[in-house]
Symmetry: C2
Amino acid sequence: MPAPIEFWFDFSSPYGYLASTRIDALGARQGREVVWRPFLLGAAFKVTGQKPLTEQPLRGPYALHDFVRSARLLGVPFKMPEPFPFFALGASRGFYWLEGHDTGQARAFARAVYAAAFGEGRDVTKPAALVELARPLGIAADALAAGSFTPETKERLRQETDQAIARGIFGSPFFIVDGEPFWGHDRLEHIERWLKTGGW
Amino acid sequence: MPAPIEFWFDFSSPYGYLASTRIDALGARQGREVVWRPFLLGAAFKVTGQKPLTEQPLRGPYALHDFVRSARLLGVPFKMPEPFPFFALGASRGFYWLEGHDTGQARAFARAVYAAAFGEGRDVTKPAALVELARPLGIAADALAAGSFTPETKERLRQETDQAIARGIFGSPFFIVDGEPFWGHDRLEHIERWLKTGGW
């Protein structure tokens, strides 16, 4: 079995959302599993000295324009959530708790969170909002709420975030393919070419 | 006549170099003139709070890897210059002085500077190095050296840099196409599509 594509992202990342709408199809075309790995981008920002794009002079207005334009090109709905930027702690913990039980359900939950946040502009920071997104997926609301707050779940997210930084991951989305790092949703064409040709 | 593609760049920008090897062919394919516009990216960094990618933790090592990998994909030579980052004042002034006399010669000079800096890793900060690059292009060495230091030339570069920032240009390369801004050499495919389809 070839190694899976690692898809690292923060739930509060607009470009992560855009990539999430395409990465599984890319993996399927190239015969690669895709492993979804949410992490807390803010922890990486502390290392790099960056802050959210939208809070930066000049870069912010461009980014807001480019998010919408890129989504339009991909044909996916896009609406900036309020509040933004937001701290995706609950969604990330919920993902890892779910993943401990059912990888498919964890991914369905991740898609639902991204679709709500950036497809509909909804607030996905509150536990009640996450439970509402989980219910139609057959996820027991109480279990998700409780599971997200266990010490094991909290520790898991911390470890994944630490691992991301230790491996040089500083942005969202970020991909690792056969050891090769690719940053940005605009590198998906490169990733697909890399997989097709075995690198260049 | 349709509006030209504006190609904004800093001579010390590796991704600007990569874009410079492709933008004229793109313009030719789409029936658009390309106007080359060097500016001092450091002035934009003062506004955005950024610094050169290579000086940033995590982002620096990735960038160095991606420069080389992207150049290999494009089939163009690549070597990081010493020193790096460098202050491209002389090359930028030389360009604008030349442009006042001969646009084609200015562009040939820009290509020569980029090829020396990032194709061969040479130092292009010193007047002697610039004169050496200009000579084979039929540019009178004394005239270039003198012209680069006139108050008009200095003022021209200042104005272009101010104009860039006033128009929201914060990175290199940066393109404006029919009023639409595109940042990054990895947006060239988007630019070509935009021109082909009239936007999306």
